[in-house]
Amino acid sequence: MLERKSYERRSLALGSLFVIGATACNGYLETTDGGADSSRDLGAVSPGGAPTPGSSDAAHPAESGPRDPGRVTIRRLNRVEYDNTVRDLLGTTQTPGQSTFLNDAPQLGFDNDADLQTLSPVQFTRYEQAAEALATEVMTNAARRAQLVSCDLQSGPACAAKVINSVGKRAFRRPLTGDEVAAYQNLMTAAAQAGASADEQFQTVLEAILLSPHFLFRPELDPDPAGTTPHLLAPYEVASRLSYAVYRSMPDQELFDAAEAGKLAEPAELRAQLERMLASPKNAFGTTFPAQWLGTSGIATESFDPELFPKFNPSLGASMAGEVTSFFGDLLQKNGPVSDLLTAKFSYVDASLASLYGIPAPAGSGLIRTTLSTAQRGGLLTMAGVLSVTSYPTRTSLVRRGAFVLSQLLCAPPPAPPPDIPAFPEGEITATTQRGILAQHRALKACAACHDSMDNIGAAMENYDALGAYRTEDAGQTIDASGSFTGAIAQPSGGVGPTFNGAVELAAAVAADPRFAPCIAQNVLSYSLGRSIRPADQPYVQDITKPASGTALGVRDILLNVVANDTFRMRHGDPTPAPGGMP
C-alpha cells in the first residue's frame, strides 16, 4: 500500500472524515443507521440529517406530520464545564477537571455530546478527590467560607438549612426540595455523631453536593419519562441550557432570577438573555464552538516535519488556532453575515502569522484585527489553522481538504471507504504532484465516485502548503488550482456545478451554496443541545437559518434562532424500551 493510500489522519477533532485516502468509494449518501436519533456524524451532523441533495428547495422543506423537538440524554459536566462550574459556585481557582479527570474529549466534533459520555470508577475517584479538595478549601479559606456560609453554623439547624438551601440551589441549578434539605441535615447529624465539628459537618454536606448526580449531571425531567408528547422545559432547565451553551458553566444570578420568576418560557426572553450573555466575559461560545466545529483546537500540539516546515512551533500553532476563534468571535459579536466566514477581507493576525502569510506585521502584540490587502487571503478556507489541520505532517492533502469542505461546511460528508480496497501495485502511480497523484488514482472507477467530489475541491486549495503558506509550485511544477463541484457528494444533481480557481473563488462558491447556512445551523444546534442532529430536526434547522432582521443571515442570528427554537425550549421522554430478557 502506498503511503498516500492512507486511511488515517493524526489530528483529533475532525477525525472521521479525513480517513478517506486513495480508496474506493461506493454507496455514497446512503446511511446505515436508519436515521434514528442516535445518528451522529462528522461535525455533529448526520448524513441522514442533511438536506436531501437534489430534491431540496432549502427555503421550503417538505414537512409532513407534527414536528418533533426530540430529547437530549442526561448530560454530565465535561472537564471544562466542571472547572467553570466549581469556579462560579465556590470561587475556587482549582481546575481538577482539566488537571486530573480522565480524557472525555474530544468525541467526534463536540465535547458535550451526552450520548458519547461515559463514566468509569476511576473517573469517580477523581470526583471524590476533587470534592474533598474543593470542600476543604472552602472551609479552610476564610474569604471563600464567608461567601458561602452567611450565619453561625453552630447556632443550630436553622442556619444549616439556610446555607444548604443557598449552596444547593446554585449547585443543582434549581431549588432543593424539602426532602433534599432534610437529607443533608440528617447527614450533618450523622457526621456529628461520628465526632465531626460543625464545620466538618457542613464540609461533609458540601462533598455530598459535589458528588451528587444532581450536580455532576444535568437532569431534565419529563412528566412521563417514556412519553413522546413534547413539553416545555422547566425554567431552571432552560437557564442551564442557556448557561452551558454560552458560558460552559452554571447559570449566573440573572438567569437564576429569571427562572425563579418563571420568565424563560418565551423566545423573546431567551433571545434577550442570550444577547446579555454574549456580552459577558464568561462567553465561551465564540471560542469553543468554532474550534470544535473546525477542529482547530489542537493545532499547537500537532507535529510537522521540522525539515520541511521549520517555521512551525507550538506558539505559531496557538496563533493559528487563535486567528480562527478571534475571527469567528468578531463575526459573532457584530452579527456579520455568515458568508463573511468564508469571504471576509479581514482577519486577526500577529507577527508570526503575518510572516507565514507574507503580509506586513501588524502594529502591537498579539492577534490584531487586520484588513487583508492580499488577494491570497480571506475567510476561513485561507487560514493557516484550517489549512494545517487538513494536511499531513509532510504534505498537503487534497482529499482531507475536500472532505473538510464537504463535511464541515456543506454537511455532505463523504462516506467511509468500503472494505476490501485493493492496494495499488508498485509503480502504478507515476505523478509527483498531489494533484497528479490523485488524478491517476481517480482512474480507478470505484474511487472516482467520491474522490471526484473531494479532490476537485481540495485541488483549489493547493496554493497553500501544509502550514498554510502560499506557494505556486508543488514538486517543481506550477500548481493548477482549478476545481469544481463535481461528483455525487459535491454536486448531487449531477453534472459539473460551480467552477473556481483557487481557494478564494472556492470559498465564494461554498458561501453561495444553499447547503452552507443550514450546515452551520446544524452544527450550532448540535453544540447548543449536546446531541446529534436527526432527520426530524430539518424543519427546525430551516427556521434557524431565517435572518432575525434584514435580509442577510448573520452569525449571531443563528445562535439567537437556536435558543428561540422549539428544540431548545422543548423536549419529550424516552420511548426506548428497557433492556430485558436477561435472567
Partner: protein, 477 residues
C-alpha cells in the same frame, strides 16, 4: 466467583457453574486475607516476600493469579517478529530477543487470528477494544463487548481493593471514521457500553494505590482521623446513592443507563473504603511518589511498569491493562530515544519496503525491551515456590498483525517464509498451568478461543468469548 453478575453478550459461562454462582453469589475465597492475617499487620512493600517464606506462602494455598493485557499499536514488522523455528528449541527472533532471560516462561504464537476485529475503515480507531474483546466496535453509539481482562476482574469481584487498573503512556485519542474516540484509547471494557479509560499520570496511579491509606502509620491520632474521615465519606456515598436511586425512578431508559454507570462507580468507591478500612493496606515502602507528568516516554513507561509490579505486590489489584500507546495515530510521531525520527503510524504503512520494515522493527524492539523490563521485575518477586511472573498470565498483542495490511491474521512478506499470524506473546503460566517455553504454531486458530482457554486457567468457567470464540484453544497445557 461472581460471574453471576456478568451479563454481556460477549461472553458466556458453563451453565452449571453459572447456576451455582447465582445460588451463592458470595465473595470468592480470598487467600490473600489469610496471608495478610498471617502477616498480622501492615506490609511495607520491600519486605513483602521476607514476611512470608515460600513454605509459609504455600501453607496458605495457591498464590493469587494475575492477568495483564499489554497493548501495542500499529502492527509489527513480521519478518523480524516471528521466529523461524518452532517448538521448545526455537530460536528467538530479533524483535523478541529481549525475552531471552525468560525464554522458558514465555509462549510465542504463530498461526492465530483475530478476524472479528478486522475493520478496514476504523482499524486504529477500534484497535484497542478489538484486541481485548475480539469484536468490532459499533457506531455511532458506543457498543463493543466486555474485554477479557474485565471478565476475570468481575469474576474476582471484590477480592482486591481495586478490581482492575488501566494505564497508558499516551493520553491522545482520535475518532476514526466516526467511531467514538474512546475506542481509540481503551482496551478495558467493563461492558459493551462501559469503557474503562486508562490513567496516564504515574503520580495519579501511585495515589490510586496508596493515597489515604495510612494503615502503616503507628500514629494513633492519624489512625483515628483516618477512621473518622472514612466514616464521613461512607455516609456521603450512602447519601448520593440514595439520591441517584430516587432520580433513577424519574428517568427514561437511556438516562437510566448513564446513571447506572454512576451507581456502579459509587459502589466501587464503597468497596475501596470498606476494604481499606478492614484489611491492612500496603504502603509505598521506600518508593517515592512519581511525578504527575513525565515528558520522557521511556521514563514514563518505566514508572508505570514499576507501579504495576507494586500494585501486584500489594495485591491491590490482580488485573491490569497496559497500553504502550493508543491506537494508530495516537502513538509516537518520533522516537528520539532510539535515534529514530519517524512517525510510528506512518512507518507502519511500509508498503513491503524492507528499509521501512527495519525502522518499524526498531520500534517493535524498543517496545519488547519495555515488556522484558516488566517481566524481569515480575520474575524478581518470589512468591510461593515460584515468582510473581509464574503466578500470572501476561497477554501481549497488537491492534493489528501488520500495519500496512491492516489485517488480524497471517501476513505475506517478500523474502520471509516463516509462519506469521496475529503477533501474540504470553508470559507466566498461571501457576504452572500454561506450558511455556515454546513457539507454538496454529493453523488460523482464533484468539478468542485462546482467551477462553486462558480464562479457564484462571478458574473462570467461560465457554464462549467474542464474536467467534466457541471452545478453549487446545495444546496449551
Amino acid at each position: 466467583m461472581s460471574i453471576a453478575r456478568i451479563r454481556d453478550a460477549n461472553v458466556s459461562f458453563d451453565p452449571q457453574a453459572l447456576a451455582a454462582a447465582r445460588r451463592n453469589p458470595s465473595r470468592p475465597k480470598l487467600q490473600r486475607r489469610a496471608i495478610l492475617r498471617a502477616a498480622a499487620a501492615c506490609i511495607a512493600l520491600p519486605t513483602l516476600e521476607s514476611l512470608l517464606s515460600p513454605a509459609e506462602a504455600r501453607a496458605f494455598g495457591a498464590q493469587p493469579l494475575r492477568w495483564v493485557s499489554w497493548f501495542l499499536p500499529c502492527g509489527v514488522w513480521g519478518p523480524s517478529w516471528f521466529p523461524t523455528t518452532t517448538g521448545v528449541d526455537y530460536e528467538l527472533s530479533p524483535t523478541l530477543a529481549p525475552l531471552a532471560p525468560f525464554k522458558s516462561k514465555v509462549l510465542v504464537f504463530a498461526g492465530l487470528q483475530n478476524t472479528p476485529a478486522v475493520n478496514p475503515q476504523g482499524s486504529h480507531g477500534c484497535g484497542p477494544p478489538g484486541m481485548t474483546t475480539c469484536r468490532q466496535g459499533q457506531k455511532p453509539a458506543i457498543n463493543v463487548g466486555i474485554s477479557v481482562d474485565q471478565v476475570y476482574a468481575q469474576a474476582l469481584g471484590t477480592a482486591t481493593r481495586i478490581p482492575s487498573m488501566q494505564l497508558s503512556v499516551v493520553d491522545t485519542t482520535f475518532s476514526d471514521v466516526q467511531y467514538p474516540a474512546v475506542y481509540n484509547g481503551t482496551t478495558a471494557w467493563a461492558s459493551a457500553t462501559q469503557p474503562l479509560p486508562p490513567v496516564i499520570s504515574p503520580g495519579q496511579v501511585f495515589d490510586q494505590l496508596f493515597a489515604g491509606h495510612a494503615a502503616a502509620s503507628t500514629d494513633v491520632a492519624a489512625q483515628a482521623a483516618l477512621a473518622k474521615r472514612r466514616a464521613l465519606h461512607k455516609s456521603v456515598l450512602d447519601e448520593v446513592t440514595s439520591e441517584a436511586n430516587a432520580l433513577m425512578q424519574r428517568l427514561g431508559t437511556t438516562d437510566r443507563a448513564k446513571l447506572d454507570e454512576y451507581l456502579t462507580s459509587v459502589r466501587a468507591a464503597e468497596v475501596m473504603i470498606t476494604q481499606s478500612g478492614t484489611t491492612p493496606s500496603c504502603d509505598a515502602g521506600t518508593s517515592a511518589r512519581p511525578a504527575d507528568k513525565i515528558a520522557d516516554v521511556p521514563t514514563h513507561t518505566k514508572a508505570l511498569i514499576d507501579l504495576m509490579v507494586l500494585a501486584f505486590q500489594c495485591d491491590a489489584t490482580r488485573v491490569i491493562n497496559f497500553q504502550q500507546a493508543n491506537g494508530g495515530h495516537s502513538s509516537y510521531s518520533s522516537f528520539p530515544w532510539i535515534n529514530l525520527n519517524v512517525d510510528h503510524h506512518g512507518i507502519s504503512h511500509h508498503n513491503g519496503d524492507a528499509n521501512k520494515g527495519a525502522q518499524l522493527a526498531k520500534i517493535d524492539l524498543w517496545e519488547m525491551t519495555n515488556f522484558a523490563y516488566f517481566l524481569q521485575k515480575m520474575d524478581a518477586v518470589a512468591e510461593g515456590n515460584g515468582t510473581m511472573l509464574d503466578n500470572s498470565l501476561v497477554f501481549l498483542s497488537n491492534e493489528l498483525s501488520d500495519g500496512n495490511a491492516h489485517n488480524q491474521g497471517a501476513t505475506k512478506y517478500t523474502n520471509f517464509t516463516g509462519p506469521t499470524g496475529k503477533p501474540i506473546v504470553l508470559a507466566g503460566s498461571a501457576g504452572g498451568k500454561l506450558n511455556t517455553g515454546r513457539h507454538a504454531i496454529y493453523n488460523d486458530a482464533s484468539q478468542a478461543d485462546l482467551f477462553i482457554a486462558l480464562l479457564n486457567m484462571l478458574d473462570v468457567p467461560v465457554t464462549t468469548f467474542g464474536a467467534v470464540g466457541t471452545a478453549p484453544l487446545t495444546g496449551l497445557t
